[in-house]
């Protein structure tokens, strides 16, 4: 073997690229440290070091579980499920037309209506159901209705976004073929586009319902009805044994709803 003039050093990246990467990581670390300092400025470290003892204390008070509390929780739980279901229905009903306004291939006006629809979607997505509930409780008073409207408003963005993406991904050839028969605009929608997005539509709706069950369990914290009201009451009285029962019930409901939604989605698709 003759010694070939091959380099003995190999680098994956050029020196410049490596420098950029290192600088990027360095900036991230510096940013993290700075953020950490700003964030913990007001933190009282005595509380933090005390936390394990607090945790043990709370854990100790959770036991034994207050099972006798369960019958009292069933009605609020029923309310919670209703908030999620009716809220989903309302949200989906509002999201459906908005999705058509927002999709590039179906919007009647790309200059005016599409940005408006996109803004509604972003606004709804940015603001959590709990914040909507906070506002609505202040406006229309505490109760189920505030919860339902909050869930509906929050669902618009999620359903609207996924649905308009589904509309934009429809097969243009099928739509073209329907248009070529001399069909009118609404007929093209009905025959060319709707059949293509229906499975996505049902899947998204059921998925959102599942998420809404989860979200509606806490709406009661701000007075919007459901099992969260009980949770709030128990936390305020520091009745941790009741809190633990409520949490277990919520956990059970969430798992059950996830199972139901998975089954439903499989049946649809």
């Amino acid at each position: 073997m003759t010694a070939a003039p091959y380099s003995e050093i190999w680098h994956r990246r050029t020196p410049r690229a490596r420098l950029v990467r290192w600088m990027g990581w360095l900036c991230l670390v510096a940013l993290f440290v700075w953020c950490w300092q700003v964030m913990t400025e007001t933190t009282i470290w005595a509380f933090v070091t005390d936390a394990p003892r607090q945790a043990a204390d709370i854990g100790g008070r959770m036991w034994p579980l207050e099972w006798g509390y369960v019958p009292e929780l069933l009605l609020p739980l029923w309310d919670t499920i209703n908030i999620a279901t009716l809220g989903t229905l309302g949200g989906v009903a509002m999201a459906f037309p908005i999705a058509f306004l927002a999709a590039r291939n179906t919007t009647p006006s790309a200059m005016v209506l599409r940005p408006v629809a996109l803004f509604i979607i972003v606004a709804s997505r940015s603001i959590n159901a709990l914040i909507w509930a906070l506002l609505l409780v202040a406006i229309i008073g505490p109760g189920l209705l505030a919860g339902i409207v909050a869930i509906a408003l929050r669902s618009i963005g999620f359903v609207g976004k996924l649905l308009y993406e589904a509309i934009e991904e429809t097969d243009a050839r099928q739509i073209e073929a329907v248009a070529a028969t001399g069909a009118s605009g609404p007929q093209v929608l009905n025959y060319g586009i709707l059949p293509q997005i229906m499975p996505a539509f049902w899947g998204i709706s059921v998925f959102r319902w599942d998420i809404n069950i989860r979200e509606s369990t806490i709406l009661g914290l701000v007075g919007a009805g459901g099992i969260g009201l009980k949770l709030n009451a128990s936390i305020n009285t520091l009745a941790w044994d009741e809190v633990a029962v409520i949490l277990l019930l919520i956990l059970g409901t969430v798992v059950a709803s996830e199972w139901v939604s998975a089954r439903l989605r499989r049946a649809i698709i």
């Binding site: 073929a177 070529a180 059949p195």
Partner: protein, 273 residues
């Protein structure tokens, strides 16, 4: 019957797809449109029913100039033009019957189409057409449950349900096996003959075109370079359409491939030793 005069199309990207195409199709004639991909075949037939808007020229069907029509009039005229698509373009999630009935969309009001309550005559026509293409028993199947050949038959029935005066056919056999391709072509030509329907058929398969077409038009880079009966489609004419340099390039590509393979083989042998 159909007259195209000076039809040109330039896409917004600036690529000229068609330049100055003038063509007449008399009643009952089946015309095959051949040419390399990108020659503008698809654009040409879409300019006729204005799925693609032509940039210049006129398209007259009977005595109506299709290019100058408003939206509502265009829809009324599109009913007269049946179209059969490459890869079927059926609405996959609807039933076969709905797909065939969708050929009547231009004739019925929205509420009828929405409720799927078509006039009795339309339903009978749809059944008769399904019987004609041999799919009577699949009326209630979903379109995505059918095989390729069956789907294209549904596509044919849909186009015929319009009771068209002209048939536009875009690569009807592009995704079918040779035997099914021939069956579909035979069905289309038979139906055209039965009804005296003129048809323009985009087709990339030259032997199939020669076998079934009455007249062949060769398109190259958006211009007509051949127009005559299949018997005149000689080797020279094909070179004119598909271009000599293309053949050479293809052969050159083959040579390169062969060389690379030989090289790889030599290396493998060297390794084995």
């Amino acid at each position: 019957m159909l007259h195209l005069k000076g039809v040109s199309k330039t896409y917004t990207s600036g690529d000229p797809a068609l330049s100055d195409v003038t063509l007449s199709v008399p009643k009952g004639q089946i015309l095959g449109l051949i040419g390399p991909s990108g020659a503008g075949k698809s654009t040409l037939i879409r300019c006729i029913n204005r799925l693609v808007e032509p940039s210049a020229g006129s398209v007259t069907l009977g005595d109506v100039d299709l290019v100058r029509l408003g939206k509502a009039d265009l829809r009324r005229q599109r009913r007269r033009i049946g179209m059969i698509f490459q890869e079927y373009a059926l609405v996959e999630r609807l039933t076969v019957m709905e797909n065939v009935l969708s050929g009547r969309l231009g004739y019925v009001p929205f509420w009828r189409s929405f409720l799927r309550r078509y006039p009795a005559r339309d339903v009978q026509t749809a059944y008769r057409l399904l019987d004609r293409v041999g799919l009577m028993d699949r009326a209630d199947s979903r379109a995505d449950a059918l095989s390729g050949g069956q789907r294209q038959r549904v596509g044919i029935a849909r186009a015929l349900a319009q009771e068209p005066e002209l048939l536009l056919v875009d690569e009807p056999t592009a995704s079918l096996d040779p035997k099914t391709s021939r069956q579909i072509m035979r069905l289309i030509t038979e139906i055209c003959a039965e009804r005296g329907l003129p048809a323009i058929v985009n087709i990339h398969d030259v032997p199939l075109a020669q076998q079934f077409m009455q007249r062949i038009v060769g398109l190259r880079a958006g211009r007509i370079v051949f127009d005559g009966p299949p018997s005149e489609l000689t080797e020279d004419a094909l070179t004119e359409i598909y271009g000599a340099e293309d053949w050479n390039a293809m052969r050159q590509g083959d040579a390169e491939q062969a060389e690379a393979e030989a090289d790889a083989k030599r290396r493998m042998e060297a390794l084995a030793q």
